[in-house]
């Protein structure tokens, strides 16, 4: 494993935008801000080898709005030291915001929208597949069943733990060339970071270690719960009732609901609602008003029969985008 250090600073907004597009996102990025007194700087520590991860710091005097499709295999945290950032909700996650001393996970699934105002913040990136393997080794879950269920830390203490651990890895290990040259220490730093991520943000691996009943007789396995959730997402366009759920789980729907509540902090009703919202979003995005697609017809296809209620719920869940806007894109 090796560590690469990179430093970048500019007062030219065009160069800054170019750098952000190159390193982070090249989709639907809009940047506003005073070009007088403009400044942007980044220091990046990127580790490659047995584990790939990065600990960066980025500051700029811009208001930046971005909107991207799911980040490919990345788990990214943003922690402002200065300024504020807002992450819009999507069909999987509620909207969240963070100020100095706080941290957010950027949505690993669903579309991701965010706004950064005049921020100086720490960005940490780990790959999803490596964290899933780590979770499997430490918590005994199947790697594919790792799912993050919220974007905000489970408590202020957990947020502080994450910030302290990132600082330790960055300052005590990655920034010390003699220490960063020792593979077993880089490996240990990665494992510390991955475990801290799992205890900081709500996820299925953490639930498995917290849930004393997870392996008790009569309890639904995580695989079964995962299977039911997948089933809901695949069949959300059809009318589904408790008997359909019971058939999939080979257990009463009530037990599935209990297991979802305890392990994933959600319910059958909420999962079904999110699945339908996602379906509506996909169809609106792919739809073509010129070919006769309408918001009302697509909403009804996904079980939302009251257009006004749908419009409000949709706009809230996308963080401000109305169904008409999606359809017209």
């Amino acid at each position: 494993m090796t560590v690469a250090y990179d430093e970048f600073a500019t007062a030219d907004p065009e160069l800054a935008e170019d750098m952000i597009r190159r390193m982070y996102v090249d989709q639907r990025l809009s940047i506003h801000g005073p070009s007088a007194e403009f400044a942007l700087g980044q220091s990046a520590l990127a580790v490659t080898g047995r584990h790939d991860f990065a600990v960066n710091r980025l500051h700029h005097t811009l208001t930046m709005h971005l909107e991207v499709d799911p980040l490919d295999d990345l788990l990214v945290t943003d922690a402002p030291r200065r300024g504020a950032l807002q992450v819009g909700g999507n069909t999987d996650f509620d909207a969240v915001a963070a100020g100095p001393g706080e941290v957010l996970l950027t949505a690993p699934t669903g579309r991701f929208t965010a706004q950064f105002d005049n921020v100086d913040f720490d960005i940490t990136a780990l790959t999803r597949h490596e964290v899933a393997e780590h979770a499997a080794a430490r918590c005994g879950i199947a790697p594919e069943s790792l799912r993050f269920t919220g974007l905000a830390p489970i408590s202020p203490a957990a947020a502080r733990l994450w910030l302290d651990t990132v600082a330790h890895v960055r300052d005590d290990i990655l920034s010390d060339p003699e220490i960063a040259a020792i593979p077993m220490l880089l490996d240990s730093a990665y494992q510390m970071l991955a475990t801290t991520l799992l205890v900081t943000f709500p996820n299925t691996a953490l639930d498995a270690t917290h849930d004393p009943l997870a392996h008790a007789p009569g309890q639904l396995s995580d695989t079964t719960v995962g299977h039911v959730v997948d089933f809901l997402h695949h069949h959300a366009a059809q009318p589904l009732g408790p008997t359909d759920i019971a058939e999939q789980a080979h257990a009463p729907a009530r037990d599935v609901d209990d297991a979802l509540r305890r392990r994933r902090n959600t319910t059958l009703a909420e999962q079904l609602w999110r699945a339908r919202m996602q379906g509506a979003y996909r169809d609106l995005y792919d739809g073509d008003p010129a070919a006769g697609d309408t918001v009302a017809a697509i909403a009804a296809r996904w079980g939302f029969t009251n257009p006004a209620t749908f419009a409000v719920a949709y706009t809230t869940s996308t963080g401000g985008e109305a169904p008409e806007d999606t359809l017209r894109r």
Binding site: C139, S155, R160, H168, I173, D176, I182, M184, S188, T195
Partner: protein
């Protein structure tokens, strides 16, 4: 002895009989004694048994303040008097980081470890200090060996520490940084340490760093250029023999002892070594001893009376001229040059 242990449990439902686990995640304590014998009794119970020369009682001050998470503990220790004592090899792994003005000296078989960071030896030793303030970390020896076994592919019984000085000043610094992080950001917070996942990961991180910091057989195996691929691909007899040599290089061992430890006849072992490591068991023993002597020469200080002859003799090289020639062939300079720089 005045003991004020707040023993704050992270699980604050200790009164709930239905609570599955009421063992506190972190025990915090402050222990103080005005009597040197009580101080010794405390140190015997928690670190190791010391048989000291008499310590004057007047104005004596002793306290320990620390936190323990089961597999590891971090303490601050103060002992205001001079102490010179024979010490038993401790059951736990103990790392002491004396404060700037504290003089600490652990002596074993002619070798002095003086800090700024020292691992307590695994054989009987003499400890000496004057008015000591130090940070003391204790780690479960068996659990560290398991981490070492996982890293190196050695059997956990073969993972042993072979030196008591850190391998570089950078590692000394990184150990101090790590301990500050664990003490301040982890052990001080019950909510953090109440997650078993976090306690175990913290221990692994400490154990891995310890294994990278002080010489040991797991590290030798990881760094051994003569090793053909990962440790597991070598026959068990060769691995056992090499681990035995790594662990006992300081003792008067020969082919008979090595073969016995490997569980194979001397001829079979010679053959296996030749085939898998392109050397003989005694050739490997010589190479290990030369490496250790090289390490000690680099760490030594001629102004404190360290000499090439004494260091060479410590590693079984009793003929100074022959040692010099062997050393030069491997390291390209005279041992006296390494000692001086």
């Amino acid at each position: 002895m005045a003991i004020t242990g707040d023993s704050t449990g992270a699980t604050d439902d200790a009164d709930d009989p239905a609570a599955p686990d009421t063992t506190p995640a972190v025990a915090r304590y402050r222990i103080a004694a005005a009597d040197p014998d009580e101080a010794l009794a405390y140190m015997a119970a928690n670190y190791t048994r010391l048989e000291p020369q008499p310590t004057p009682r007047a104005g004596f001050e002793f306290w320990v303040q620390g936190a323990s998470a089961g597999l590891f503990a971090i303490d601050a220790l103060r002992h205001s008097s001079s102490l010179r004592a024979h010490a038993e090899p401790p059951e736990q792994l103990i790392v002491a980081q004396p404060a700037q003005r504290t003089q600490l000296r652990n002596t074993t078989a002619g070798h002095d470890a003086r800090g700024p960071l020292v691992l307590a030896p695994s054989s009987r030793y003499t400890v000496e200090w004057h008015d000591a303030t130090m940070a003391v970390v204790t780690l479960d020896r068996g659990a560290v060996a398991r981490v070492g076994a996982e890293l190196s592919g050695l059997d956990e019984r073969d993972v042993v520490f072979t030196g008591t000085d850190p391998l570089s000043p950078a590692l000394t610094r990184s150990w101090a940084n790590l301990c500050a992080y664990v003490r301040r950001d982890l052990l001080a917070h019950d909510e953090v340490m109440s997650a078993p996942l976090m306690r175990v990961e913290t221990f692994r991180h400490l154990a891995t760093t310890l294994l990278a910091t002080f010489p040991n057989t797991a590290l030798d195996t990881l760094n051994d250029p003569t090793r053909s691929g990962p440790g597991r691909t070598q026959p068990a007899t060769v691995r056992r023999a090499a681990a035995f040599i790594d662990a006992h290089a300081t003792e008067a061992i020969g082919l008979t002892e090595i073969a016995r430890a490997a569980g194979i006849g001397a001829r079979g072992l010679q053959h296996a070594f030749r085939r898998h490591r392109d050397t003989t068991p005694l050739g490997y023993l010589r190479q290990v001893r030369l490496e250790r002597a090289h390490r000690d020469l680099r760490a030594a200080d001629p102004t404190r009376g360290d000499t090439v002859a004494a260091i060479a003799a410590r590693w079984g090289f009793t003929h100074p001229g022959r040692f010099s020639a062997d050393y030069r062939r491997t390291y390209g300079c005279a041992p006296s040059e390494t000692l001086r720089t």
